[in-house]
Assembly symmetry: C2
Homo-oligomer: 340 residues x 2
């Protein structure tokens, strides 16, 4: 017995997107249209060259359709899902919801955000008030050393759950999450499970992202070196992580004390992995500091939980972002004068 393949638009054909597309297509319950930007020429001509701890070597993998811009939704064949694996930099236009708008069919398309941070669903639910929005929290490790070449060195574990849209029934939202997990798991090569507590999962991942990710980005040290560097774990990482745990608990998500060590020791120290924000700062790219640091900080302020460490890390990231905005011409400064 066969069922219709879901039509899935994948926005973000980088390293994580490539593995997501491979999982979905190999399960044969999805047909993926992938939107590629900088690697469009490579992927549309030769497909992806993938070396993966989950899939082995896969050369020339091409999703069903490869495009270089977000397509208009078709009336006859609307997208069942739009999966977003792009970086989500809310302080740099255009916004994600403006980008997605042409492809979203109201009341139909389910939007899946495989993206970091807190409150990322809010602008999408405001923009698409009749649509279901799902949370995807991914523990994958993957990078794209050159356009179209993807190395996945940490297994793809994906948690999918429903964000709550007040105008959509929770039952339908949960059914959409179930359906997506089934399609994603059909290939059998990956761990995808339903996330019944999206808030808990997101706060848990923030213990890593708000703290290790930002501290590595600011200092220029990878996850192995930050554990070896004088005083960095005791003076920075642990205090920051404890602040996230404290505000998560105040928000109703009872993270265990052990989450701090679990996150610090998640990777073997000698992997020397650059977390996402460090990769970005090394390339002079924008960082996702608003969703990763700004939103937890604002939640903490609302809940009256002090976050002295995170507050400093947030403002340092904000200054680093401003520096990159100047380099990319989004802000400018008055001409230089001379002291002499």
């Amino acid at each position: 017995m066969s069922e219709a393949k879901a039509d899935i638009l994948l926005v973000g054909g980088g390293s994580v997107g490539a593995i997501v597309a491979l999982n979905l297509e190999s399960g044969r319950h999805a047909s993926v249209t992938v939107v590629c930007r900088s690697n469009f020429a490579a992927v549309s001509s030769r497909g992806y060259q993938i070396r993966s701890c989950d899939h082995g070597s896969v050369n020339g993998f091409k999703p069903s359709i490869v495009v270089n811009e977000i397509p208009q939704a078709s009336d006859s064949r609307p997208f069942d899902y739009i999966v977003c694996t792009t970086k989500n930099v809310v302080d740099v236009p255009p916004s994600l919801f403006d980008l997605l708008r042409p492809a979203v069919t109201p009341g139909k398309t389910v939007i899946v955000l495989i993206q970091n941070g807190l409150n990322i669903e809010k602008p999408l639910i405001r923009a698409f008030e009749s649509n279901i929005v799902l949370s995807g929290v991914s523990l994958i490790g993957a990078n794209e050393p050159e356009p179209g070449t993807v190395v996945q060195d940490f297994p793809d574990t994906l948690y999918i759950g429903a964000f709550r849209n007040p105008k959509v029934s929770a039952k339908l939202e949960d059914a959409a999450a179930d359906d997506f997990v089934r399609r994603y798991s059909a290939g059998g090569k990956t761990q995808c499970s339903v996330d019944k507590n999206v808030g808990y999962t997101r706060w848990r991942k923030l213990v890593y992202n708000s703290c290790l990710n930002s501290i590595c980005a600011i200092t220029g040290l990878d996850t192995g070196r930050i554990r070896l560097a004088d005083g960095a774990v005791t003076g920075l990482v642990r205090p920051a992580m404890k602040e996230i745990v404290a505000v998560a608990r105040k928000a109703g998500y009872e993270l265990p004390d052990s989450v701090v060590d679990d996150m610090i020791e998640m990777d073997p120290v000698t992997l020397y992995l650059p977390p996402s924000m460090l990769s970005d700062t090394r390339k002079g790219n924008f960082i996702e500091y608003e969703n990763i640091l700004g939103e937890p900080l604002r939640e903490a302020e609302k809940l009256g939980v002090p976050m002295p460490t995170l507050k400093v890390l947030f403002h340092l990231c904000q200054a680093i972002q401003w520096k990159n905005k100047e380099l990319k011409g989004l802000v400018s400064v008055p001409p230089s004068s001379s002291a002499a």
Copy 2:
């Protein structure tokens, strides 16, 4: 009437040292032996080429003696003063007192530390317990764009006062400060005055150095841009400065509230000056974070004053220093393993 010139050993023949030497020699009450390192070849052959807001253009200025290592003190003609204008990186050997030891004549040589930070005299007073140690706080702006070429773009204002060595009479210490100021001022081109409250002066300068200097170094933004960047002054600079003011007051130095704005607005915004630690991080050089951040933080801990912002800045600088120690081979990490 003429008096004997003082024999002065100047340790640190970079940009600040060059201006110090020029002041001392032009007043004709001092004979300067300057210790040059990276610029020894240039200075010993052609002298300094100086463009100075205080002195105008001075080409080929040569101090009385130019050497490339710290000389042994002569029994017949010991150094009256040793003036240190080097960077003082206490967490990287060799220590300053070990470097100076051969040139110091016990009970005779007055050591003048024109260097940043707090408690910098303590290891010197321990090492040379019969010697006078003077504090020099300088507001000069100078740099050396190439070896031996010095640009001074901010006037040399120097405050000289006595650190208190418990084994030396305060009267002799104060007389030494007076004598040095007289010799330094004799050229008439600069502002050098006696500092009757060394602690106050040093804490006051820390308002700039612990805060603006470190925040610029960490973010990569100069003093103009840090004032223009989103949230940096309100979120970082002001909170950090207020912490320094609070602990200074608890330590007995009544800095006025206005010092915060005075330090933020010290330079016109459009000068876009890199403070010393930013210049150092840009070149991958070691930073003076221990004297500038570590010591104030330890004073705050002793006095029970919270320093949440400075604590994070300190540990970030410590991690950045560790990164540079690895780059320069002072620390090493275990070999890299692979995830696959």
